[in-house]
């Protein structure tokens, strides 16, 4: 996946484009994961060694029981031609060394293998999982860091929910995939060891059992084939249910006012019924498949008894072998069943993996100058627009041929109908987008020659949907900037008249904002955003006035805070309140991205133009 940098002419595909399916190769994607797992490679390798050790011990347990206990000790039919993996010799040695009965010695060895199997298995599971969790977590952090730096243009196009899904849900699916590989390793290694042992003990009997393996595999594949589309339909009917609920509960007022209750109840009943039909189909298949799988071991018992019995009668094998095979049969069939079970996880993870990498590979940045010009330490705050033209990537021109010089310390109010380009204008100064060269200057420096982060550190911004960060009130004003001392924060809060309410909080400036400021009122949050914007005493302030209705006391507080904040500062305000507009040095009237009128309130009113019209419509 590659992307073109800063194209603003042709519409681009997105990492969320569903039109291009996820098919760049599962194996290649998994292989790419090694970068994040690499720091943990020794942990993974060690864990696999323990998985093998555990599997070996697991295989030895039934060997001791059948070969040593049953054949040798109980039946005295031990036959040197039948391999026992040295367990008989070990038992005899232990029995001779410590002078105990062979049965006791065999029990001790049995116990040893049980303990080792359990211990090694524990080490394998925890070690493997910790490596996978840590590795995937690194990927998650890298992905988050990546999306955090994607420019505003990206977030204009995509839905937040989709990005969220990548960082949480899809990463989770991937982590599940790696864990399930671990589970499979835990099943397949004993399977391979058991199969080898069975082949070496009694190749004929093993061969006679292999049709069962095939049968299980076929039934499992058949089940996946049949159930896959049904599960898909269940998910669909389920999301129909969800959608219906979501929509009709959101619009419950309309539903009730228009007397749609009974019709809706009918429709919902149909949706429920559709879901039920699909669920019932799945149930019919599931209740056929799982009992087959659970009965495989019974079938195996019958066939081991039958075939094994013949072999014993022909003196080809011993009774111990039959007992051994009975104990192994479970080990033999489980991996196939597990493989079927894990296949849906693997499929889901393959898609998730593809989507994650697509987002991670998405390169989109602002045009950062290679040798950025530093803004002077004492900024005057002059802003110049020179014939600025701007459009969003796919849209119509938003700003057309816009020229305006804002003098240092001037207060500008921007008004205009919805969609006239007010917000865009302020975003351009914040350098959220690239603009054509020589069209926007701060203190005479082309904005494209300044590093975006530099601008954002020097320009104070208060957006309409301001965002409070987790942390204390002080953290939210200082934003981690060491040059904002507590005294500075206090001064800023006092200036915007937020001191009273902050001091009234349980811990004052150290009060931690619950849930991003949910313990504050809307007005208080706004005052906090003001304090934050001026804590660094920026020379330029951009403000998108909130339109949300607030009570008149807060309204008055905010208005008076505003007048203090904008004094002696270059300010650009998208104004929604009459008072703000009247107080401005100049009012810029925008329409369709063009400057229509400019001047003071009274001048504009007397001009009888667009401003007058907007004003009269009140």
């Amino acid at each position: 996946m590659t992307s073109t940098n800063k194209t603003s002419t042709s519409p681009r595909t997105d990492p969320f484009d569903v039109a291009s399916p996820a098919n760049t190769g599962f194996v290649r994607n998994i292989w790419r994961l090694r970068r994040w797992l690499k720091p943990y490679r020794w942990r993974i390798l060690t864990s696999l060694v323990f998985a093998m050790l555990s599997a070996a011990a697991a295989v030895l347990i039934p060997v001791v029981f059948s070969r040593v206990v049953v054949d040798d000790i109980l039946l005295h039919v031990s036959n040197d031609a039948v391999p026992d993996l040295g367990q008989r010799a070990l038992t005899q040695w232990l029995s001779a060394q410590s002078n105990i009965q062979p049965l006791l010695a065999a029990s001790a060895i049995y116990l040893l293998w049980v303990v080792l199997r359990t211990g090694f298995g524990y080490i394998f599971q925890t070690l493997f999982a910790s490596a996978v969790l840590a590795g995937i977590n690194n990927l998650r952090q890298d992905l988050f860091a990546h999306v955090e730096h994607l420019p505003a243009a990206f977030y204009d196009r995509v839905k937040v929910g989709q990005v969220l899904t990548r960082v949480t849900n899809d990463i989770e699916n991937l982590s599940e995939l790696l864990s399930s590989i671990g589970v499979l390793a835990g099943e397949i290694i004993p399977f391979a060891v058991a199969l080898t042992v069975m082949l070496s003990l009694d190749a004929t009997l093993t061969a006679e059992l292999s049709p069962f393996l095939l049968f299980v595999a076929l039934v499992t594949v058949g089940f996946r084939r049949l159930s896959g589309p049904i599960y898909q339909r269940i998910r669909e009917t389920h999301s129909r249910l969800n959608e219906h609920l979501h929509e009709n509960l959101s619009g419950i007022e309309t539903v009730q006012l228009y007397q749609r209750e009974s019709l809706n109840a009918e429709r919902f009943a149909t949706l429920v019924q559709n879901n039920r039909i699909e669920e019932s189909r799945a149930i019919r298949i599931e209740t056929a498949y799982y009992p087959i799988i659970e009965n495989i071991s019974c079938l195996a018992v019958a066939s081991i008894l039958w075939f094994g019995g013949q072999h014993v009668l022909n003196r080809q094998t011993t009774l111990g072998s039959i007992v051994l095979f009975l104990q192994f049969s479970d080990m033999l069939f489980r991996p196939v069943v597990m493989l079927g079970y894990q296949s849906s996880i693997i499929f889901r993870a393959a898609v998730a993996c593809e989507l994650i990498f697509r987002l991670l590979d998405w390169q989109e940045t602002l045009a950062v100058p290679s040798q950025p010009t530093q803004l002077p330490s004492d900024l005057h705050g002059r802003i110049e627009f020179k014939n600025l033209n701007f459009r969003y990537e796919t849209g119509e021109p938003i700003i057309q041929n816009f020229s305006l010089t804002i003098q240092p310390g001037e207060n500008i109010a921007i008004v205009g109908p919805t969609g006239s380009g007010k917000t865009t204008l302020t975003r351009l100064i914040c350098r959220f987008y690239d603009v054509p060269p020589d069209s926007l200057f701060i203190d005479g420096i082309d904005i494209m020659d300044i590093a975006p982060t530099e601008i954002r550190k020097r320009v104070g911004v208060i957006l309409q949907d301001f965002h409070l960060f987790p942390g204390s009130v002080y953290d939210n004003i200082a934003l981690g900037n060491p040059s904002v001392s507590r005294a500075d924060a206090r001064r800023a809060a006092a200036l915007v008249q937020a001191l009273d309410f902050i001091d009234a909080l349980p811990l004052g400036f150290d009060t931690v904002l619950e849930d991003r400021g949910n313990n504050l009122s809307q007005g208080q949050r706004q005052l906090l955003a003001f304090a934050r914007a001026i804590a660094l005493n920026p020379e330029i302030l951009i403000l998108d006035e909130a339109t949300a209705s607030i009570d008149s006391n807060t309204e008055a507080a905010i208005q008076s805070a505003l007048s203090k904040v904008i004094a002696n500062r270059t300010t650009l305000i998208i104004a929604h309140r009459l008072q703000t507009i009247r107080d401005a040095d100049r009012i810029v009237v925008l329409e369709h991205g063009q400057l229509r009128e400019i001047g003071k309130h009274n001048e504009l009113l007397s001009r009888n133009g667009l401003y007058k019209m907007l004003y009269d419509a009140l």
Binding site: T118, A129, A152, T168, V272, F469
Partner: protein
């Protein structure tokens, strides 16, 4: 709380009992298999040739076990899905009757969770837990009996070990459940964190706070990883405990049973059968705590579902079968007062005080006033979405409380402020109250709402889908569509709650002018923030702080030189200018 599910479960009662009996019998069939295995092994040990019968017997039992399992589980699962469907329909039906107060206090996500996840938890209980419980009980009852038949001594020796394994397994499973809850909670807070972060990404970037947020995220993920690792460890401990337990038990079988075989007290076949019984018991012990877990989940879920089912509709409909004639369109309000209640039910300061007003049939009345004056509340009271605190409201002289809601809803149409539209075709949205309406009347309504041109500009005309899977309408287009949805009903009374706010002044005026001729002799009551719109009205009611301070037509009110005149001449109401400016 789970017992309250019973009325919904009742139709399935017999089916469920049958399914469980069948599932119980599975374990009797199952317990017979080791007996035949024992015979087979002993026959082989004696080099006897009669293993055909035992093999055939095991095969038959296997087939029987399959059939019984298949039937029992299918019945049981079908019962659970039927029950869930019935519960969902009932809950949704009830939700449709609940009113504003309820929805104001509940979050949509929470209600959805109750209708979907909580009912799924109840379903899981009936499907999984009941079945597992039956298995657990039947194996615990059946297996020891069969074991004791083979060797009483061995059974008695193993019993304490089994109980110890069951107890430690249950204990560990409980710890795992808690660890998994913790892990889920960490996942939830991680998701919340990312969501909040992405929502505020512009502010974060505007303040160059990306790195700080990344560090913060890393901390949260570390906590999540730690919770995950704890869960993995607990699971590994449970696995280990079960392995060790089964190993120890087979050790006892091998050691003690082996010496019994040596003494001739037990056959090799019996020893092998014993091992099979053990694995049967172990397989149910492993899951012994899941029924409890499912039960607890389902019980909590049922409590949440029935808390909604117990909510009484705020508006009590009257059971009146009288067929009312079409309303004349007269609405009157006598000494009406109203106050909302806060979340704990304590009344807030009144929104409306002692309002009296009579609106004559065919009148166009405008209600104006600042935000918070009580305008929308008054409309909601008129449409009986709220009940008066004091005083009464009458339609054609009859108290609203004595009129069936269906008659009221047929007589009064309300265009709400938020113009909520559905993700369906334009036609379906406009003919929302009755999908059978002919296209002509849909077009007529669209025309009246100045929407016809917009619809024509869409490729598919009336069948254009709007919303998530279709075209996105602008605020003004939405408002006009919701207006058309009301106009099509031609109700004797139309309530407009600031329905022109997203339209430019000209379009608003155009619609209003048409409205007059379209709805002649029909009553219209409109709330407006724009003083300009009010001048079209027959009568203007100025509301402030919940009281009527002036009434009269435009000219009269101007002449009165009061509040309205002030508003007209010097519009400095502390209203926001959006979207006009």
């Amino acid at each position: 709380m789970l017992k309250r599910v019973y009325p919904y479960f009742k139709p399935y009662h017999n089916q469920c009992v049958l399914a469980l009996l069948v599932l119980f019998s599975v374990h009797i069939v199952e317990a017979a298999i080791p007996l035949y295995l024992k015979d087979g092994i002993d026959l082989i040990a004696r080099h006897d040739t009669g293993i055909l019968q035992t093999t055939a017997a095991i095969l038959t039992l296997t087939l029987l076990r399959f059939l019984v399992l298949n039937y029992g589980r299918r019945r049981n699962a079908l019962v659970s899905i039927g029950l869930a469907s019935a519960l969902r329909r009932a809950l949704y039906g009830h939700l449709l009757t609940l009113g504003r107060g309820f929805y104001a206090q509940s979050s949509l996500g929470d209600l959805m969770a109750r209708a979907i996840n909580d009912i799924a938890a109840i379903q899981r209980f009936f499907r999984m837990a009941v079945h597992q419980l039956v298995s657990l009980v039947s194996v615990a009852l059946i297996a020891p009996v069969f074991m004791a038949q083979q060797s009483l001594l061995l059974t008695l020796l193993l019993l304490p070990l089994l109980i110890a394994i069951a107890i430690s397994g249950g204990y560990l499973a409980e710890r795992i459940r808690r660890a998994s809850e913790l892990q889920q909670a960490e996942y939830g807070s991680l998701t919340e964190l990312v969501q909040q972060n992405l929502k505020g990404i512009r502010t974060i970037q505007a303040h160059a706070q990306e790195d700080r947020e990344i560090r913060h995220f890393a901390d949260a993920t570390q906590r999540y990883v730690a919770a995950n690792q704890r869960l993995v460890r607990m699971n590994a401990v449970l696995d280990g405990a079960m392995l060790l337990g089964s190993g120890l038990m087979s050790l006892v079988v091998a050691g003690v049973g082996g010496s019994q075989v040596l003494n001739g007290q037990m056959s090799i076949g019996a020893l092998t059968a014993f091992l099979l019984y053990l694995s049967m018991i172990l397989s149910v012990i492993r899951n012994c705590s899941t029924p409890v877990y499912h039960f607890l989940n389902a019980d909590t879920a049922a409590a949440r579902v029935f808390r909604v089912m117990d909510e009484l509709p705020e508006i009590q409909d009257v059971a009146d079968e009288t067929i009312f004639p079409a309303s004349a369109g007269e609405m009157s309000v006598y000494k009406l007062s109203f106050s909302y209640a806060d979340k704990t039910g304590i009344p807030l300061p009144p929104v409306l005080h002692d309002i009296s007003l009579t609106i004559r049939p065919g009148e166009l009345v405008a209600i104006i006033g600042p935000i918070g004056a009580g305008k929308s509340t008054l409309l909601r009271l008129l449409s009986r979405q709220l009940e008066p605190g004091a005083g009464k409201i009458c339609l054609d002289g009859r108290d609203l409380k004595s009129i069936p809601l269906s008659h009221l809803r047929r007589s009064v149409s309300f265009v709400t402020q938020d113009s909520f539209l559905f993700a369906a075709s334009i036609a379906e949205n406009i003919a929302y109250d009755d999908p059978q309406r002919p296209p002509e009347s849909i077009w007529a309504a669209a025309d009246a709402a100045q929407l016809a041109e917009t619809i024509n500009s869409f490729g598919n005309g009336l069948s254009t889908l709007i919303g998530e899977r279709g075209v996105t309408l602008s605020g003004g287009q939405k408002q006009r569509a919701s207006l058309a949805r009301s106009l099509i009903r031609q109700t004797p009374i139309l309530l407009l709650d600031d329905s022109f706010s997203a339209l430019d002044t000209e379009t608003g005026a155009l619609i209003l002018a048409h409205l007059r001729s379209l709805r002649h002799r029909q009553t219209t009551i409109m709330v407006s923030h724009r003083v300009a719109n009010a001048r079209y009205a027959d009568r203007i009611v100025v509301l402030e702080k919940g009281r009527i301070i002036e009434t009269g037509n435009h000219a009269q009110l101007l002449a009165m030189n009061g509040h309205y005149a002030d508003l007209v001449r010097q519009p400095n109401q502390p209203d926001n200018l959006e979207p006009a400016i």
